[in-house]
Symmetry: C2
Subunit: 294 residues, 2 copies
Amino acid sequence: MHWADGFIAVDWGTTNRRAYLIGADGACTREFEDDKGILSVAANGFEAEVAAIRDRLGDGPMLLAGMVGSNRGWIEVPYAPCPAGPEELARRVVRSPDGSAVLIPGVSYSNGRADVMRGEEVQLLGAVATGEIAPDCLVCHPGTHNKWVLMRDSRIQSFRTVMTGELFNLLREKSILSDLLKAEAEPGAAFAAGVDRGLEGSSLAAELFEVRANVLLGRSEREDAAAFVSGLLIGQDVRVGIGQDNALPITVMGRPELTRLYTAALAQAGFVARECDGERAFIAGARKIVELLQ
Amino acid sequence: MHWADGFIAVDWGTTNRRAYLIGADGACTREFEDDKGILSVAANGFEAEVAAIRDRLGDGPMLLAGMVGSNRGWIEVPYAPCPAGPEELARRVVRSPDGSAVLIPGVSYSNGRADVMRGEEVQLLGAVATGEIAPDCLVCHPGTHNKWVLMRDSRIQSFRTVMTGELFNLLREKSILSDLLKAEAEPGAAFAAGVDRGLEGSSLAAELFEVRANVLLGRSEREDAAAFVSGLLIGQDVRVGIGQDNALPITVMGRPELTRLYTAALAQAGFVARECDGERAFIAGARKIVELLQ
């Protein structure tokens, strides 16, 4: 493969994917995002989906990251155990049958507790490579499954996943609280009240029902329920995160509509966190790994 | 209405309903259960559904309890505030437009925290009436929404709801853990390990993801996941419950497949609990309220 002439990098997750065409100079020249996450692709449908990406971004070598390398994806790539840096990932990539694509392993942690990630590792190592995060820091990476990641000496040292986004979506789509959770969660008084409750470490299943009772009994406004529940979940999440390490600098990496909620909750817990754009970090991480493949 | 000649009592919940024909001697002579919970009935469909019950159980007076009296049900009946006994419920019933049915209010609690119940109050007060539970006790009433109820002087003094059943169902039906949660949860080592974790008060959203990681990394058996998650949720639930009062006798009331899981978890927490059949208690409670209506 001639990576030096440019390549395609794909962050292929559970529910969507983002594909980038990276030129010889390392800049992203074309990109697209769609909802063809791995759950929407049949087991034997990945070759066709890869071809569809090529139709749009050309026939350069392709670097695939994320759930596409899981046991529900195209080709299963065994996890790289912690501590994991770019070298550990590059050493464990798996090539596709036709040789035109390379799949990156996820990262596993297993020491008392167990955890896994697929996709976030590229963003994390990219952000270290560009200096956007420090070689030693705590990173919060919100999404469907939020990751709290301890970086040490520019490698992923350990991490803990919290299913905050998925739980919020389940509650919004199918629970008795669905009607109350349609609004967008915004920082504000209701969000802050939820964060306070979450930071206390109270029982999620009990707090959630109380949201409904408070509305039924006219004790709180329907319009505040989504922000309160978001705050409750994120407060509980932050409680887990700062339990990982509370002395290192903290960066929240991801989509701005999520990172601002987490930085607000962290501030309530007494921590100043920086925000960082995960998409740019992914491109930097993909470039870093490609350097090591050449 | 001539209640003394016998009547129909219906426990009409969110997802199913149970209807009983009670004879003049107070014994149940006919009954049925189906999945016509209020969520499956259109707003203007309740008259027809009541008629369908009459087709099966005759045209005696009808006592309706549960979510049928909620704002999503047939006729909204305002809650009776705690403390609430049979007299408080009987005083606040609402008659249907055609006069042939009476709807029982639910019970609300509002004192710092807020909570509501609809349907469980009939079982609770029935169990007190028959002596099956003590006038002063703590009752655990598992189901979609588990209730921990403090009974004082034969009345409902306060209570707290924990959405354990609903969360387990959401996780089983639609989450990333769905595949792992199809098995029936049984008491045993995996359930007990989950209870231990839940009693610690750990973060649900973090623990849940770890279940998946443990299976992916070969650290635990797929077959154990459902029992572990059930134990985790019930352990967190019991932690809330014993926080209500840990000196009173405890009774777990409901369906045997649920009550045995809760008594096992309570035993792990150091509490001996009795089990009690909720269905018989409902009939006793309906009779008690009807006595007061005559």
